[in-house]
Amino acid sequence: MIRFENVSKVYDPNIVGLDGVNVHIDRGEFCFLVGHSGSGKSTFIRLLLKEFEPTKGSITVAGRNLQRMRRAALPHHRRSIGCVFQDFKLLPNKSVADNVAYALRVTGQPARSIRRKVPEILQLVGLGDKMNNLPDELSAGEQQRVSVARAFVNHPSLLVADEPTGNLDPDTSVGIMQLLYRINRTGTTVLMATHDREMVDKMRKRVIALEDGKVIRDEDKGLYR
């Protein structure tokens, strides 16, 4: 599903983001990406989304080589990946339903199927009664649920989450984790960057640890350590 081959990323004034990373993640895996701030987690995820190019190496996602991808194909690439961010990244002027609908609209889905799918997915994340609220009117946990709903509404084969529980209290975090776990159970590959030790230890899934841009550990059913 994801293949990083000897990937390095150096930011402009000689700051190393990633340094010679080799990672292979299979379809349907649930995988944690752990490490301190600045260890390269975000760089890893942003490279996946092709927000910028690696300085060296090649990245393949769902069989597509990102370096050989044409610019016009970029939106399609992004649509095939659902993303959840620490700061939710919801459109502030749109209602919860419209936020989720936006992800469907960009794919050119007909209005009828949007009207059907949006309430469905919002029910699934437990926000069926807040469809017409603005994001500001929701709690942080609820906003993150909207964000997860938006990421999953297209049923992408890969869901990427960058510190999705970073802004949430432990109880709310558990709710989000359960959601991600359920999504993984439908066959979706889930990659989650986090430094939530408790969560990682509880889940016992594959853990890839980064430090100073290098992979220092990669083990199945691992712990945060």
Binding site: P75, R78, C83, K89, L91, N93, Y102, R105, V106, G108
Partner: protein
Amino acid sequence: MRFRFFFGEAIDSLVRNWVMSLAGIVTVLVSMFVLGIGTFVFFNVQRAASGVTQKLEIEVFIKNAASQDEINKLGDEIRAMPEVRDMNFVSKDEAMNRLRDSMKGHEDVLQALSGNPLPASYEIFLKDTNQTQEVASRFYDNPAVDNSAITNTARDPIKLAGGLSASATTMTVTAGGGSQLAKDLYIRVDHEIMRVTDNPVGDKISIARGLFGTTADTHADGAGVYSTDGVKTGGKTTERVNMVANYTLIGGSGFVVLLAVASVLLISNTIRLSIFARRREVEIMRLVGATNWFIRWPFVIEGIATGLLGATGAVILVIIVQNSIVNMIKQQLTFLGAEAVPTFWLLLAIIGGGMLLGSVGSALALRRFLKI
């Protein structure tokens, strides 16, 4: 469905940034209003200009004393001139009828006239307006033409009672016999003709000899003094009207271009602000996989809508102003006869112009501030 979504997004943004939107709309309104009024003015100046050009170019008035033979001979001469496109004889009675027609409603003024003081005339139309002065000058010394260079006398231009005398540096024309020289007259020495205007009323006039060619022989028999009274030309008026028409066109279009540039910049600024205000949203849209045009369309529609709203306001204003001017002129300045620009063309020009300004403005903003 997609278009409806984009349209909704654009309207949403227009309403949200309503102050800037209003500024854009008002600029478009002003520039399109000026364009509309300019079109109206130019349309009418052109109309007047073409009307004047079609009017007669030379009108030769005939002396009351002239015999029928003289009149016929003059007509034959005019017809024989190669420059003449068409000519027309207007008798004294016809001249009177025309005056009566043009003064409908004020016939009482004509009651005061005893008999018919109007002269008969030839109306002459030329092939080329530029020849007006040259052809007109041929009639200055025609005995049948009513050229009253000398007032209060027999109105015979050829025979000056006083005559022409000359010194080394000046020539002096004397009317003599107690008569006065006209204010505006032509002096001919041999074949050179010189015009003297604003001549102080008196019985003689002196001119520097140097104004004529040095070869002019002041004792030549052919010397004479003529006024232009009996020959009228339309050439000057035509020229002036054409000049005014050209200046209105140049000045007007310069002004419209300036305003158009201002509108484009203002719309582009409005869109830029709206892009800036939503840069985070644009970022999110990209992350969710929106294509470039999916992001751009709402902004483009926003620009076009700004142009369209401004233009619609302008059309309404122009139609109101134009019609009230036309009505006012029709009621009070009957002879001018202004006419409104046909609404269809006005609509097309202004609405089209407004939308063009809007789309250019947003395209400018998108190119510079929405690099995707």
